[in-house]
């Protein structure tokens, strides 16, 4: 259980687009993160509130360190 979570996290860190494509069945031409989120919103797979909360996570120092943001 723990190993599979770690593997998923490593995969998400190394190639997030492919993980998201499989998970949310994204069209192959979607590569831009904003386009992906827009697609998820349009198809009703995520709500606007979820997007807002996720987008605000980039201000979290822990997330910034984890994904080498800024």
């Amino acid at each position: 259980m723990m190993n599979s979570l770690l593997n998923t996290f490593q995969l998400l860190k190394s190639d997030p687009i492919s993980v998201l494509s499989k998970r949310f069945n994204l069209p192959k031409d979607l590569k831009n993160p904003n386009d992906i989120i827009q697609h998820l919103l349009n198809t009703g797979q995520v709500s606007q509130e979820q997007v807002n909360q996720a987008m605000q996570l980039r201000n979290n120092p822990v997330i910034q360190q984890m994904f080498h943001l800024r």
Partner: protein, 159 residues
């Protein structure tokens, strides 16, 4: 059997006969509900989404029929992006400038200038003092002029 409600005061009739008919009030223990444990996560910025610039706000993904308000982290602006209900409708983007109400605005500046240019009034006694000083100076000037004339007359007589 009526269930006692902790949140609203219960009505108990004053008639003692009726009071005896009332079922005894059972002490209730408040059991924590599952809602308390799974509270909704509060929005991180009070409903506003922080962005670094206008471009980020313009490119922010917004769902159809939704509207998002942004607060610029680096400039005093607030943006709103509103999507139509279909792809055919263009998204509406609005930019608002934040102005502090207690800061000096152009209107305030005009008001302040008006108050600065208002005439200052002197007291009657002060004006009288100035008048007497002016009169004294005028007298001195007149005396000097008369002395000068006398000298000129004397010089003309000598010649």
């Amino acid at each position: 059997m009526a269930y006692p409600n902790n949140y609203y005061p219960q009505f108990y009739p004053q008639n003692p006969q009726l009071q005896t008919m009332q079922p005894p009030v059972m002490p209730t223990v408040q059991i924590p509900t599952p809602q308390m444990a799974t509270q909704q996560i509060e929005p991180l910025s009070g409903g506003l989404v922080n962005v670094r610039n206008e471009t980020e706000a313009r490119n922010y993904p917004v769902g159809y029929g939704k509207s998002v308000t942004f607060k610029d982290e680096t400039a005093p602006y607030v943006y709103t992006k509103t999507m139509g209900f279909s792809q055919l409708e263009q998204p509406r983007f609005e930019k608002y400038r934040l102005v502090r109400e207690d800061a000096e605005t152009p209107n305030n500046a005009v008001e302040n200038a008006k108050t600065e240019n208002l005439p200052t009034y002197a007291e009657k006694a002060e004006i009288e003092d100035v008048r007497t000083e002016i009169k004294a100076i005028k007298d001195d000037i007149a005396k000097l002029k008369s002395i000068k004339k006398k000298r000129e007359v004397i010089l003309d007589d000598d010649e």
